[in-house]
């Protein structure tokens, strides 16, 4: 009974926050509602008995992806009046896109066939009484190993692409060469001098490796 109530509660929050993502005026609020949506989706996974997926969703999407997303959105300098101005102009295009999407979804839903044995699978989310972490691992690292590795390679390529696009050598930036600093001895950096009264000391000549530090 409690599980059912919890399901409806969290589904309601999930749908409500999904609506708020598209309707809130402030982009930061929209991202925060998106995060709330992720959290509720994770809870729904948990209620369905998929605890591994639930926490991975929380760690990856909420803990990492959404943080960076929020990061970017917060730094945008949004002019709210300019946002409202464009609404009239873009409304017809938006309505057209929405209409096309709706039509496509209707076509798909009309021809959707549910596998006859599907209901039975749903009753046993994990096979043979192993925990679903073990079950997922056994599938991923045996039958689907090539696909799993391939997705890793795709992510790697995407990462390299992002680095290549944003990396530029800033000639003016100052870098610290930690190894060179650690390799210095007191003899190279310190000189004990006794300054005679009224004469001061002569400055030592600059060490050549000081340029690289």
């Amino acid at each position: 009974m409690i599980a059912n109530l919890a399901f409806y509660l969290f589904s309601f929050i999930l749908l409500a926050s999904a609506v708020m993502v598209v309707t809130s005026r402030n982009p930061v609020h929209a991202v925060l509602f998106l995060i709330l949506g992720f959290v509720n989706a994770a809870v729904l996974f948990l209620l369905a008995g998929a605890e591994f997926l639930a926490f991975i969703l929380a760690i990856v999407y909420v803990g990492a992806v959404a943080v960076l997303f929020l990061f970017v959105v917060m730094m945008l300098d949004v002019d709210f009046s300019a946002l409202n101005e464009g609404f009239q102009r873009y409304a017809p295009v938006g309505a057209l896109v929405a209409l096309i999407m709706f039509a496509e979804l209707t076509f798909i839903a009309g021809t959707w066939v549910i596998a006859p044995a599907g209901g039975a699978d749903r009753l046993f989310p994990t096979p043979d009484n192993v925990t679903n972490t073990v079950a997922l691992g056994q599938l991923l690292y045996t039958s689907y190993l090539p696909l799993f590795q391939l997705s890793g390679v795709i992510l790697l390529v995407a990462m390299i692409g992002a680095i290549v696009l944003t990396h530029r050598d800033r000639k003016r930036s100052l870098h610290q060469n930690i190894t060179a600093q650690h390799a210095r001895t007191p003899a190279q950096t310190l000189a004990m001098v006794r300054a005679p009264l009224g004469e001061g000391v002569a400055l030592p000549e600059k060490q050549p490796e000081e340029e690289t530090l």
């Binding site: 925060l32 909420v62 990492a64 943080v67 930690i178």
Partner: protein
Amino acid sequence: MTPFWATDIGILILSIVKTLALVVPLLIGVAYLTYFERKVMGAIQLRKGPNVVGPFGLWQPFADALKMLMKETIIPTGADKLLFVLAPMITFGLAIIAWAVIPVNNGWGIANINVGVLYLFAISSLGVYGVIIAGWASNSKYAFLGALRSAAQMVSYEVSMGFVIVTVLILAGSLNLNAIVLAQKHLWFAVPLFPLFVIFFISSLAETNRAPFDLAEGESEIVAGFFVEYSAMSFALFFLGEYANMILISGMTTTLFLGGWLSPVPFLPSGVLWFLLKVLICLFVFVWVRATLPRLRYDQLMALGWKVFLPISLVYLVAVAGVMEYAGWLPNA
């Protein structure tokens, strides 16, 4: 007829009682951690620390709490009111709810779930939101700078922390925290994984924004970082949240590396006192580090996380996995 404790209402009441039994000592612990820190730092710096309120200054935490409650809550103009109030609650709440899975004694955790480690990791990765939301909602540049620094820092150190945890999981063969502690019956994981233990501890300093990684606060550069605009109770919640996080991360270190409640002395019984002792030692090191080390520069902090810790933990993970596989030591193999 099922017994009362197995009915829905019975389970609910039992959970509430268990939660109170954990949270009340925890909150008292958080209050006295502030006292502990001030006393230890005082001793290190040849001062006395708090010694006026009550015997040995023992009532100091309560005096501080009363002072905080009496102060006025100020919400800055242009702040996002709801988020501004919500942020400290998120920080403090997350530090408390993570305790649900930590086993303080054999089977004493409130929720002994299959994926306890993932739960802990998920909750600790949510901790960054309290900081970011506080920084953004304050509508202040210092707060925002602090929040940006802290977000980048927490996300960076989480990566190597994740690899360290995965290595522990390979040795333990389970995601259940109770099972992880029991797997350390003969040898604490801190011994074979000593480099990773050090990395985990340093990363946890960064994760809790403690010195020498307290750039998020950086009083000398950005006033107090993300909570510069907070006052009274909302400030107190951030403050207590930081200390609750310290206790939590010490509890995590104890569970993952120091054998939890298990007794290191063969003829003494294991129990919750051992857990407390180990947590206390970790906390002492936290305070010790704060009193002795200067703050890192921001680029040094990032370089340490990405260029030192990440490669070491990655290589160690692969090496441990390889050794375990070829030596046939993998649990449940």
